[in-house]
C-alpha cells in the first residue's frame, strides 16, 4: 500500500523517531551498568534476559495503552482501566480459589471467560454513558474508576486472594515457543487489532469521528456504534491486562492492581504520537510508548537510582521527551525566531473544541503547519 508506506515514512520521520531514540538510549545506558544487559540466553527452551524481562513487564501496560489509543482517537479518554484490571483479576482469582481443583483447565477457562466478560460489560457501560447519554468521557470513566475500585475490593473482600493454579499461572508467567506467554498474548491482540482496524474501514471512520464528530454524523457515520466499540475494546484490553498481572503473582489485590496505570497508558499514547484531542492515531506508537515507560522503570532500577527517585526520574524523562517532540521547542533550540515561523496561535485547530476529554488537550504541536486552510489565500 503506497500511502501506508508513505504515511509510515512520514510518521517515522516525525513522531516515532524520538521515542525510538529514547528507547535505544535507555537500553544502551543499561549496558554500562549491566554488561550482560543485552544478552539473551536460552534455558529449558525459554528465552531469558533483561530484554525479555522488559517485554514481559510491559505487557499489561502495552495492552491498556492500545485500548486507550482507540478511545483517545474517538476524542475520548478512559480513566477506569486500572479499576477494570483489578476487577478482572479479582473475579478470576475468586472463581479459581473457589474451585475444588484449582488446576482444572476448564475451571480456569471459565474464570477467564467470566473476567473478560465482565470487563467487556464495563467497557459497554462506559461507552453507553459517553455515546448514548453524552456525558464527557473524563467524568463518565471517572465514575467507574471510583466505583470500580470499590467493586474490586468488594470482590476480594478487602483481602488479597491467593490462588495456586498452574494453568492460571501460564497466562502471566508461562512460556510457549520460547517466548513468554504474556508477550505472545499481547502480540496476538495487537496484531489482531491492527489488522482489524487498518484492513477494515474502522481506522478511518474512528479517525473521522475523533477529528470532526459533526461532519462525521452528516456523512452518515454511525459514531455511536464506533465510540461504544472503542470503550468495549479498552475494557477488554484492561481485562486481559488484569489477568496477566494477577496471574503473574498468582493473586489478586483489589486495592493496588492497576493503580495509576491509566496515567502511564495516556503517557504512552502521547509518546507514541497520537493527539489527545482525537483523530489520527498510531497503535505502533502506543506500543512503543508503553515499552519505553517500562524500560524506564527497569533502567532506573538497574542503574541503581533509589526507588524513591523513580517517579522523579520518570517525570524528567517525560518532560524531556515531550520537549523533544515539541516543534516549538526544536525551533527555539535551533535559534529560529518565532517571527519567521508560521502562525503563533496555539496548536488547537480552529473550531475544534474536543467535547470528550476537554480539559486542556489541544492537538500536540506537530509539524508546524498553518492551522487553517484559508491561510493559503
Amino acid at each position: 500500500m503506497s500511502d501506508t508506506h508513505r504515511r509510515l515514512t512520514g510518521l517515522v520521520r516525525q513522531r516515532l523517531f524520538w521515542p525510538v531514540l529514547i528507547l535505544v538510549v535507555l537500553l544502551v545506558s543499561n549496558l554500562f551498568f549491566t554488561p550482560s544487559f543485552f544478552s539473551i540466553t536460552v534455558r529449558d527452551g525459554h528465552l531469558y534476559g533483561s530484554l525479555i524481562d522488559i517485554l514481559r513487564a510491559s505487557t499489561p501496560l502495552v495492552l491498556v495503552a492500545v485500548g486507550m489509543t482507540v478511545v483517545i482517537a474517538t476524542g475520548g479518554i478512559d480513566l477506569s482501566v486500572g479499576s477494570v484490571m483489578a476487577i478482572s483479576g479479582a473475579l478470576a482469582c475468586l472463581h479459581i480459589s473457589g474451585l475444588a481443583d484449582q488446576n482444572s483447565v476448564t475451571g480456569v477457562l471459565f474464570a477467564v471467560v467470566l473476567a473478560l466478560g465482565l470487563s467487556v460489560l464495563l467497557g459497554l457501560w462506559n461507552g453507553a454513558l459517553v455515546a448514548a447519554i453524552g456525558i464527557q468521557p473524563i467524568i463518565a470513566t471517572l465514575i467507574l474508576m471510583v466505583a470500580g475500585r470499590g467493586l474490586a475490593q468488594l470482590i476480594t473482600d478487602g483481602q488479597i486472594i491467593n490462588v495456586n493454579s498452574a494453568p492460571y499461572k501460564v497466562i502471566g508467567a508461562g512460556y510457549a515457543l520460547t517466548l513468554p506467554v504474556s508477550v505472545l498474548i499481547v502480540v496476538a491482540v495487537v496484531t489482531a487489532a491492527a489488522l482489524l482496524i487498518r484492513r477494515s474501514a474502522l481506522g478511518m471512520l474512528v479517525e473521522s469521528v475523533g477529528g470532526n464528530p459533526t461532519a462525521s454524523r452528516l456523512a452518515g457515520i454511525r459514531a455511536r456504534q464506533l465510540v461504544i466499540l472503542a470503550y468495549v475494546f479498552a475494557g477488554l484490553c484492561a481485562g486481559i491486562a488484569g489477568l496477566i498481572f494477577s496471574s503473574n503473582v498468582s493473586s489478586a489485590d483489589g486495592n493496588n492492581a492497576g493503580n495509576l496505570i491509566e496515567l502511564d497508558a495516556i503517557l504512552a499514547v502521547v509518546i507514541g504520537g497520537t493527539a489527545l484531542t482525537g483523530g489520527r492515531f498510531s497503535l505502533a506508537g502506543s506500543v512503543l510508548g508503553a515499552v519505553i515507560i517500562k524500560a524506564l522503570d527497569i533502567t532506573i532500577y538497574t542503574i541503581g537510582i533509589p526507588s524513591q527517585a523513580n517517579l522523579l526520574f520518570k517525570a524528567v524523562v517525560v518532560i524531556v521527551l515531550c520537549l523533544a517532540q515539541s516543534s516549538a521547542f526544536r525551533a527555539r533550540l535551533a535559534g529560529i525566531t518565532r517571527r519567521g515561523g508560521p502562525a503563533r496561535p496555539p496548536a488547537t485547530p480552529p473550531g475544534k473544541r474536543p467535547d470528550g476529554t476537554g480539559g486542556g488537550l489541544p492537538q500536540q504541536a506537530g509539524p508546524a503547519a498553518p492551522a487553517e486552510a484559508e491561510v493559503r489565500a
Binding site: 467524568i139 517517579l311 476537554g358
Partner: protein, 340 residues
C-alpha cells in the same frame, strides 16, 4: 452580484435585524449552578429525613471544615479549567507542601519562614508548568501529569514516612475554633478558604485578567487576534493553581498535623469533580466560582451521608460515591439538555 434582499424592507421595518437566540437565553447560563444547588438541597433534605442529628447546622459547617483545603485547591483548578486547561499536579503539590512544611518545622525552622516558603514552592512549580505549556506548546494534560510525577517523586525522595507536625503555630491554627451563634464553630481554614473564594470570584468577575481567562477558554484564536495577552494569562492560571495547591497543602497540614508523601492521593480528581459538578465546562469559557463552592459542598455532603450510614465498609463507600456522582451527572445532563 446582488445579495438577496429588498432595500425597501430595511426601511419599512425597524432597523433591528431579527435577534434569534441560537443556543442560550441569559438565564440558561445559570442553569448548571442552579441544578447543583438543587441537588445539594435535595441531598441535604434526604439526609435530614433519614438520619437523626443530620439536620444540625453544625453538620453543614463541618462539611466545609473538613473540606476547606479541597475548596482552595478547587478554586485554583477552576481558573485552569476555565481556560480550557487542566492541572493534574495539584494533589502532588499538596502532598509536597505538607512534606516540606513538616520536614522544615522538624528541623526547627520558624513557622513564619516555613509558611511563605512552602507557598512559594507550589507557586513556582505552577509557574514552571505554565511556562512550559505556553512556550513549548505542549498539552496541559501531559505537562501537569509530569508535574504530578515530579512533585510526588520529590515527596518520596524527601521522606517515606509520615512526619508529625508539633510546631506551636501549626497546632494552634489546627485547633483554633471560631465560635459564633448558638455553639457553632468553624476552623481558621474555613475562613482562609472563604477569603480565597471571595478574592477569586472578584478577580474572575471584575478584573481584566479574569475576563481574559474566560475569553481564552471561549476561543483561544479569537482571544489572540483580539490582542488579549493569551500567553501571560495562561501562564498565570497555572501559577494560581500552583499557589492554591500549596495553600491547600498548608490547610491540609493544619488538618492532619503531619506531612506525608501519600497525602492527597487522587485529590486532583476530587477537585476536577467539584469543578465539573459546579457546572463549569471542561472545554472552558463557561462556569462560575460559586458552582465550584457548591461542588465541594456536594462532595463533602456525600462523605457526611456515608459517615452517618455507619455500616458501610470502605469499599462500599467508593461504590456509593461513584453511584452518587453518576446520579448527579445524569441529573445535570437532563437539566441542561432542556436548554434545547
Amino acid at each position: 452580484m446582488i445579495d438577496v434582499s429588498d432595500p425597501r424592507q430595511a426601511t419599512a421595518t425597524a432597523p433591528t435585524p431579527t435577534v434569534r437566540p441560537r443556543r442560550y437565553l441569559p438565564q440558561q447560563r445559570h442553569l448548571p449552578v442552579l441544578a447543583t444547588l438543587t441537588l445539594l438541597a435535595t441531598m441535604y433534605g434526604l439526609g435530614a429525613l433519614n438520619y437523626t442529628g443530620f439536620a444540625q447546622p453544625q453538620i453543614l459547617l463541618n462539611v466545609f471544615v473538613d473540606n476547606a483545603f479541597l475548596l482552595v485547591v478547587a478554586v485554583g483548578m477552576t481558573f485552569v479549567i476555565l481556560t480550557g486547561g487542566i492541572d493534574l499536579s495539584v494533589g502532588a503539590v499538596v502532598a509536597l507542601t505538607t512534606v516540606c512544611a513538616a520536614v522544615l518545622l522538624r528541623e526547627g525552622w520558624p513557622a513564619g519562614v516555613v509558611l511563605p516558603l512552602v507557598l512559594l514552592i507550589g507557586t513556582t512549580l505552577g509557574l514552571l508548568m505554565g511556562l512550559i505549556i505556553h512556550f513549548f506548546d505542549i498539552q496541559p494534560f501531559i505537562v501537569t501529569l509530569a508535574g504530578m510525577f515530579f512533585a510526588r517523586g520529590l515527596c518520596h525522595l524527601i521522606t517515606s514516612d509520615s512526619i508529625p507536625i508539633t510546631d506551636a503555630f501549626w497546632t494552634a491554627a489546627a485547633q483554633h475554633r471560631i465560635r459564633f451563634g448558638d455553639g457553632y464553630f468553624i476552623s481558621i481554614s474555613v475562613v482562609i478558604a472563604l477569603v480565597v473564594v471571595l478574592i477569586a470570584a472578584f478577580v474572575l468577575a471584575y478584573t481584566p485578567f479574569g475576563r481574559n481567562v474566560y475569553a481564552i477558554g471561549g476561543n483561544p484564536q479569537s482571544a489572540l487576534l483580539m490582542g488579549l495577552p493569551a500567553g501571560r494569562t495562561r501562564i498565570a492560571v497555572y501559577t494560581i493553581s500552583g499557589f492554591c495547591a500549596a495553600l491547600g497543602g498548608v490547610l491540609l497540614s493544619f488538618y492532619m498535623l503531619s506531612g506525608y508523601s501519600l497525602h492527597a492521593q487522587g485529590m486532583e480528581l476530587d477537585a476536577i469533580a467539584a469543578v465539573v459538578i459546579g457546572g463549569t465546562l471542561l472545554t472552558g469559557g463557561s462556569g462560575y466560582l460559586l458552582g465550584t463552592v457548591l461542588g465541594v459542598g456536594v462532595l463533602g455532603l456525600i462523605q457526611t451521608i456515608i459517615a452517618f450510614q455507619a455500616d458501610l465498609s470502605s469499599w462500599w463507600t467508593k461504590i456509593v460515591i461513584g453511584v452518587l456522582l453518576f446520579a448527579f451527572i445524569i441529573l445535570q445532563r437532563l437539566v441542561t439538555r432542556r436548554r434545547g
